[in-house]
Symmetry: C2
DNA sequence: TAGATTGTTAATCGATTAACAATC
DNA sequence: TAGATTGTTAATCGATTAACAATC
């Protein structure tokens, strides 16, 4: 039996867009949705959407479309949401606090069960209804609660040290918001969120636009 | 004269990684850096780095490598940093507040000059040293200050309405953190930051890892 | 039936990797 | 000189788009 190749990270990143649209549709009582009408909300081709949905293994019906609720369940299953949804957050700075207050994370199945920091100014403080604990308490708590995912929002200098400690504490997945690339053992997965990269892309597009205009103006 | 195709959005997103490493090197007095030593910090191939640097138009010297300072200047120029660096932020919720306190944005040349919201609970409040203004004041201020970039961190429901208003106020670039795809006129650029997509990718990797383990355990 | 829509296979496009020539 | 490193061209890989067959 071959592993038929089904992963496509770009597709995975699009799934939340579908979830948003589908939830809204479900809330307004729509039962079936065709790709033709679904894409009106987003800048995607019907073809791409169909391919993505095919990847989920959910069939549509000609003329009718796809069953909204079935799709939502399939996406949840495909992403493993509501299964590994408990995570620790390390680094209660600006970004960390934001994620603690970011309601949509919970909606997408990720629940921050505790936050940690080392700075005296932060430990003990309450942020968005959760008390920040000292990082030294993490290993015990991880064992007791069985938490195996972590969100890393510490400054780049301490990212690797903290990551090493997380691995020792049995953490198996790190969502890394620090700008530092982490060195991790094979059995631990990591996903880097590169916000600086996003800013670079934004800046570049801006520059391109202004440059083009200047050029056109001169001709 | 042809436009020789030089854009590669993936490459653009990698540039901040180089900036980080290069700034650290410059601070410690290093003048020349080879790709071989540069990649030790990150999980990239020397080949890819060389290609990226070639895209900047900066030549290296065999045996020696690239001039650290020259590269930093070239990247700044390539991204247009320090040129279009003033931006408004709209939506002083959790994520918006975080970006206001995110020091690295300034380091990368983006300066949030004012923040806006419509909620009474937020207008007038001071966040990270800046007072939140009522959204209705944006158009005038944009004109007076000549600000043409905006960071959008409002809830999805209001994203399009606010975006329309921004366009009317002369905003030419939107860094969109709302999960909503925006419909904008051609002369306005937009870059979507899809954090939910990042979470999906993280979840997917986690699930894949656990699934693989379970399967191996059963064999 | 005709039209709309799914779903699959092939073609294209873009980005990365490999190979290797150039050179200090 | 030999070795290290840049830089370019070709090959590969992955993702998207196009074409079109299947079908309700």
């Amino acid at each position: 039996m071959e592993n038929k190749k089904t992963f496509n990270l770009q597709m995975v990143k699009r799934l939340p867009l579908y979830v948003n649209a589908l939830k809204k549709l479900r809330a307004s009582g729509v039962e079936y949705i065709s790709t033709t009408t679904l894409v009106k909300e987003m800048k995607l081709e019907t073809m791409l959407v169909r391919k993505d949905l095919a990847g989920l293994g959910i069939p549509g019906r000609q003329k009718l479309g796809y069953k909204v609720n079935e799709l939502l369940i399939a996406i949840d299953g495909y992403l493993g949401w509501n299964r590994y949804g408990e995570a620790f957050l390390i680094g209660a700075g600006a970004l960390g606090s934001a994620l603690m207050g970011y309601k949509q994370l919970e909606e997408y199945g990720l629940n921050i069960v505790a936050a940690f920091d080392v700075a005296d100014s932060k430990v003990g403080k309450e942020i968005h209804g959760k008390t920040v604990l000292h990082l030294s308490k993490l290993p015990n708590l991880a064992k007791r609660m069985g938490v195996r995912s972590a969100i890393l929002t510490v400054p780049p200098e301490s990212a690797q040290t903290v990551a090493d400690m997380l691995v020792m504490a049995g953490i198996r997945g790190i969502w890394n918001f620090s700008t530092k690339e982490l060195h991790l053992p094979d059995q631990v997965i990591c996903h880097n969120e590169n916000i600086a990269g996003g800013l670079a892309a934004f800046s570049f597009k801006l520059k391109e636009m202004y440059d083009k205009e200047t050029k056109n103006g001169q001709e």
